[in-house]
Structures are given as structure tokens and as C-alpha cells.
């Protein structure tokens, strides 16, 4: 089964370029005429994930893998990790600092929102040892 994989680097605290990987993926999927609702869901998840890395993670990698039946986003970073994964999945939970809240972030919707929009989401994280979020989206079989 042929699949296509591409990765983008994400840099910690780089707000100027934050979101660019998601936009690139979005443009690619559009050229492939992927269903627009699906693109939207992937874009929302990609952007949330990317912002999480920029704000909380260290440097990271944003990978997309496309094959006939599914699209997988794999977003990983070498940052501080998540202490209690169940806790961050609660709506409204946020560790955002005042500085980030002033920028309009920190509503505590990030990860729950991603889980809502992805068909399947796996978080792996070790305290102090980075985080990997893998989200799978199934394309409608033609």
C-alpha cells in the first residue's frame, strides 16, 4: 500500500511560524480533494497540537502520513511532558500562564478539542521526557 509521509520541524516559542505545518498539510489535502469537513477537523487538531508544542513543549516534529484509508498526524516534542494525562483531558483544565492567557490561549480546551475532532487519539508522555500525540482520521472509502 503506497503511503506518503512528510515531517515539519516545530520550534519552541516560535509564535511567528506556529501553524505553518498545519497550513501546509491543509493545502496538500485540499489539492488531493479530501473531504472539506475532514480537512477542517485535521486542521483544527493540527493547529491545536502545534500550538501545544510551541507553548508547552520543547522543539518538536509534526508528521503527516497519508494513505488510501486514513490520515495520521503524529506530533511529538522533547519538552516537559504531561504529569497527569487524565487531568489534561478534562475540559477547562489549563496550565497556561497569564502571559499565554493574555494572548487568548489557555481556555483549557486544547486536548479535549483534539480528541473530539480526531477519530482516534493516543497520547504518550513521560514526566520531563516529552510528549507524543498521534491522531488518526479515517477517509471515507469511495
Amino acid at each position: 500500500m503506497p503511503s506518503f509521509k512528510k515531517c515539519f520541524n516545530i520550534r519552541s516559542r516560535d509564535f511567528i511560524h506556529a501553524g505553518e505545518a498545519s497550513i501546509a498539510v491543509q493545502q496538500l489535502l485540499k489539492q488531493m480533494h479530501v473531504d472539506s469537513n475532514l480537512i477542517r477537523r485535521i486542521a483544527i487538531c493540527g493547529y491545536e497540537g502545534e500550538m501545544n508544542v510551541v507553548m508547552h513543549g520543547g522543539d518538536g516534529l509534526f508528521c503527516v502520513e497519508i494513505d488510501k484509508n486514513k490520515i495520521v498526524l503524529n506530533i511529538s516534542d522533547d519538552g516537559q511532558g504531561i504529569k497527569d494525562i487524565a487531568k489534561v483531558m478534562e475540559k477547562g483544565f489549563s496550565t497556561a500562564t497569564d502571559e499565554y492567557r493574555e494572548m487568548g490561549f489557555g481556555a483549557g480546551m486544547g486536548l479535549p478539542n483534539m480528541e473530539k475532532n480526531a477519530d482516534n487519539m493516543i497520547i504518550e508522555s513521560e514526566n520531563e521526557n516529552g510528549t507524543t500525540v498521534q491522531m488518526t482520521f479515517f477517509t471515507k472509502s469511495a
Binding site: S22, L28, S36, R40, A43, I44, D67, K68
Partner: protein, 424 residues
């Protein structure tokens, strides 16, 4: 080589590649040393006209024709026109148009104000029904509408489905004037005097269908020299020449203010609004909307030209000078409201403001513009990009290596067009 909006004159083109880089939707290539436009993609923004050093690119809108004497000639005046003449008042401009031979010169301000009411009303109702997704996008800038249709068709339902003010005026004025003069409706010729050639009739999009109420369009840059001359000839203010029309108010500052970025929303009683102008900026914001951001905004005023319509490609005067003139008008006239809410409310209930075709109904027709790429295609594209290792030199005729690789995958270009690939 001509699109609906743009004329490329081959004899002047030197193949310099400036336009292929400037085109925000990458619709231009250089083939055999001449610029060629992929016409189905052109959205009429005019960026190529601005950058062409040879003057080989111009707008496709009709040249100024002499007015037909036996017809009723009506100038529908974009308020941007007033901002082109720093030493004159808006009334002088309307008077000048009459001296040029127009039977009527209609100021759009009244209709702009009505449109603003309609937007407020639509948004107030949408707060209750949530029928349309937030943020709503202003339907005013035709280039933005086209851009969304071609590149972001899934956002078409964010565009407010209201008629453009020039569309509102066209239908009504034609009826009124044909009755008043006792002539047939087709003998009333409406000339849209405009800073922007995208406002020229384009049935392709359907997005601006109501603008086809206009018969002809004249660029402000075309009418400017003749109009200025007529205005300078007006010495004494003769009351019988007074340009008021009984169906529109005297022009104030609200109209010209529309020409500035933020001018549309400044006249509205809305708080969660934002104005963005300039191509790069609007694309960044459109992409944000696509990623589900900006949902707490209610209305976004996008203008493709930086600083707004005052920077339109068919204006005569520099956008900042024009802006200074508008700011002068604002000091003199203020921006008080004049339209009666009751009357507008009645028209709104009758559906008078609504566009016949909702932009979102067109989404499907835009998805089919280009053939989809397959997984094999995108692998080929990525592979070619990494083999070329280019620096977007443009020598192949495409704006950048990525676009070139896509062209190759689609069969529009040959790998050998790249000089790096030729060298092996």
C-alpha cells in the same frame, strides 16, 4: 493572453518573472519567454498589473466610450472617487460628472448605510439562530469572494449572503429613472465608476451576480483626467446644477470612509469585528478561520488591497494621499447616520437585501476546478522538490519549485524546463 479581468500584451512582455511571483494564487507562468495566465484561476486582484515594469499588463475593463446621447446615462459613483480630488468636495465631483454629460450622478453612501443596517440585523438574528457559522465575512470585496471560492470553498458559507450596495442601487435606480423619463428600462445605461475591475460584471462566479445590474464599468483612472478638467472649469456654484438626486442623500463622509480599511465596520454598531487588508494578511486570516480560530468574532471586513479600496488597482491617486482626503471629509462631515431604521427594517423583512444566490451554494462547482492529486502524485512532487534543491529561481516559468513540481505532476510542464534538471 487574456483573463476576464486582465489583458497581457505580448509585445511588451519581456518574460521578467515579476508577475509570476506577485500572483497570490500562482495563476501565471512564463512560457516561451512570455507571461501566460491560467485564466480559470484568475481572481482579478490586479497584483500583476502593479508589479509589471513594462506596463504589459492592464485591466480588461472597457475603455471609456462616448456616452450615447439618446440614452439616459447614469453614473453610479463609488465614493472612492471623491478621495481622488483633495481640493474638492464630493458635490463638486458629482457636478463634474454631470458636466461630462451624465444625466444623473448617483452617490452610493445612502445604500452603503442601508447595507450596514442589514449586516447588523443579519448578525443580531444569527446570534439567536446560529444559522451561519462565525465569523461572518463581509461580501463587499469581490477579490476576497473569488479567493475564498477558488482556494477555500468550504468557507463560502461564512460570506454574508447580502447584496452588494452597488447591486442594491442598480435595480432600483433603473426602474425609477425609466419611469421618470418615460423610457424603456434598457435605455437607462448605468455606468459603475469603480476603483476595482473585479467589480466588473462577472457571471462566472455568481458571487456578484447582482452587479450585472450595471451595464458598463469605468475605472476611476480612466475618467480622472477628463473629470478633473471639467471640475476645474466649474467657477460659480450654480444652484440649478446642484447635483442632489431626490432618491439619494448628499454625499457625506461615510461613503469615502468605506474606502479605508476598517471603514465598513466603523459605521456599524457591532463590537466583535475586525478589519484586515492586504493580500498576505487576508490569506493568513482566512487560514486561521479554516483552522477553527476567530470564532469569537462576528464580522470580518476583508479587503484585498492594502489600506482598502482607496488602494484599488484602478485608482488615480496614491492610497495614502487619498486617505488623507477622506480624513479631511471625516472632520468636516462626521459620520452621523441618516437612514431611517424603520424603512430599512421593512425592506429587510421583504428580503430586499438578500442575494439571489447564496455563496455557499457554489462550493461544489469550485471543488472541481482542478483535477485532484493522488498519493503517487504528491510523492512524485516531494521527490522532485528534493531532487531539484532549488531556490525558487523562476527560470522554468513557474513562481517556485513547489509549483513547478506540481505542474510536472499534472503534466503542464516538463522536468527539463528546470535548468538544474537539464544539467543533470
Amino acid at each position: 493572453m487574456t483573463s476576464e479581468y486582465i489583458v497581457f500584451e505580448e509585445k511588451y512582455c519581456t518574460g521578467c518573472t515579476q508577475c509570476i511571483r506577485a500572483c497570490p494564487i500562482k495563476a501565471i507562468r512564463i512560457k516561451n519567454n512570455k507571461a501566460v495566465c491560467i485564466t480559470s484561476l484568475c481572481i482579478g486582484c490586479g497584483e500583476c498589473i502593479r508589479v509589471c515594469p513594462e506596463g504589459a499588463i492592464s485591466s480588461a475593463i472597457s475603455d471609456e466610450e462616448p456616452l450615447e446621447k439618446e440614452k439616459i446615462n447614469v453614473a453610479i459613483v463609488s465614493p472612492i472617487l471623491y478621495a481622488q480630488f483633495p481640493g474638492f468636495m464630493p458635490n463638486d465631483v458629482l457636478l463634474g460628472l454631470k458636466q461630462m454629460g451624465f444625466d444623473h450622478a448617483i452617490d452610493l453612501s445612502y445604500y452603503l448605510e442601508m447595507f450596514q443596517y442589514a449586516v447588523e440585523e443579519f448578525i443580531a438574528r444569527n446570534r439567536k439562530t446560529n444559522m451561519a457559522p462565525w465569523p461572518l465575512i463581509s461580501p463587499i470585496c469581490p477579490v476576497v469572494n473569488q479567493l475564498i471560492a477558488i482556494k477555500y470553498p468550504n468557507l463560502l458559507d461564512h460570506i454574508l449572503p447580502l447584496k452588494h450596495p452597488a447591486g442594491l442601487v442598480g435595480n432600483e435606480i433603473r426602474k425609477k429613472l425609466s419611469q421618470e423619463h418615460g423610457v424603456k428600462e434598457e435605455d437607462v445605461i448605468l455606468y459603475h465608476i469603480t476603483p476595482c475591475f473585479s467589480k466588473v460584471v462577472s457571471d462566472r462566479s455568481g458571487l456578484m451576480a447582482e452587479l450585472s445590474y450595471m451595464d458598463k464599468a469605468i475605472g476611476i483612472n480612466k475618467i480622472y483626467p477628463g473629470l478633473l478638467q471639467k471640475m476645474e472649469e466649474i467657477k460659480d456654484f450654480e444652484l440649478n446644477l446642484f447635483p442632489y438626486e431626490h432618491f439619494s442623500f448628499a454625499p457625506g463622509a461615510r461613503g469615502p470612509m468605506w474606502g479605508m480599511s476598517g471603514g465598513e465596520i466603523a459605521g456599524m454598531k457591532l463590537e466583535k469585528v475586525i478589519a484586515v487588508s492586504g493580500f498576505k494578511e487576508i490569506i493568513a486570516y482566512i487560514e486561521k478561520i479554516e483552522m477553527g480560530l476567530l470564532k469569537d468574532m462576528e464580522y470580518i471586513e476583508f479587503r484585498a488591497c492594502s489600506e482598502g479600496c482607496l488602494g484599488g488597482p484602478l485608482t488615480a491617486v496614491d492610497r495614502y494621499l487619498a486617505k488623507s482626503t477622506v480624513q479631511k471629509f471625516l472632520k468636516i462631515f462626521g459620520i452621523g447616520r441618516r437612514v431611517q431604521r424603520k424603512k430599512v427594517h421593512m425592506l429587510y423583512e421583504k428580503g430586499w437585501f438578500f442575494s439571489e444566490l447564496k455563496p455557499s451554494e457554489l462550493a461544489d462547482s469550485y471543488y472541481l476546478k482542478q483535477t485532484p492529486l493522488t498519493i503517487e502524485d504528491i510523492k512524485k512532487i516531494e521527490n522532485l522538490i528534493s531532487v531539484i534543491q532549488g531556490n525558487d529561481c523562476g527560470a522554468c516559468g513557474a513562481p517556485d519549485c513547489k509549483t513547478f513540481a506540481e505542474d510536472v505532476a499534472r503534466g503542464y510542464a516538463d522536468v527539463e524546463d528546470c535548468f538544474k534538471m537539464r544539467q543533470g
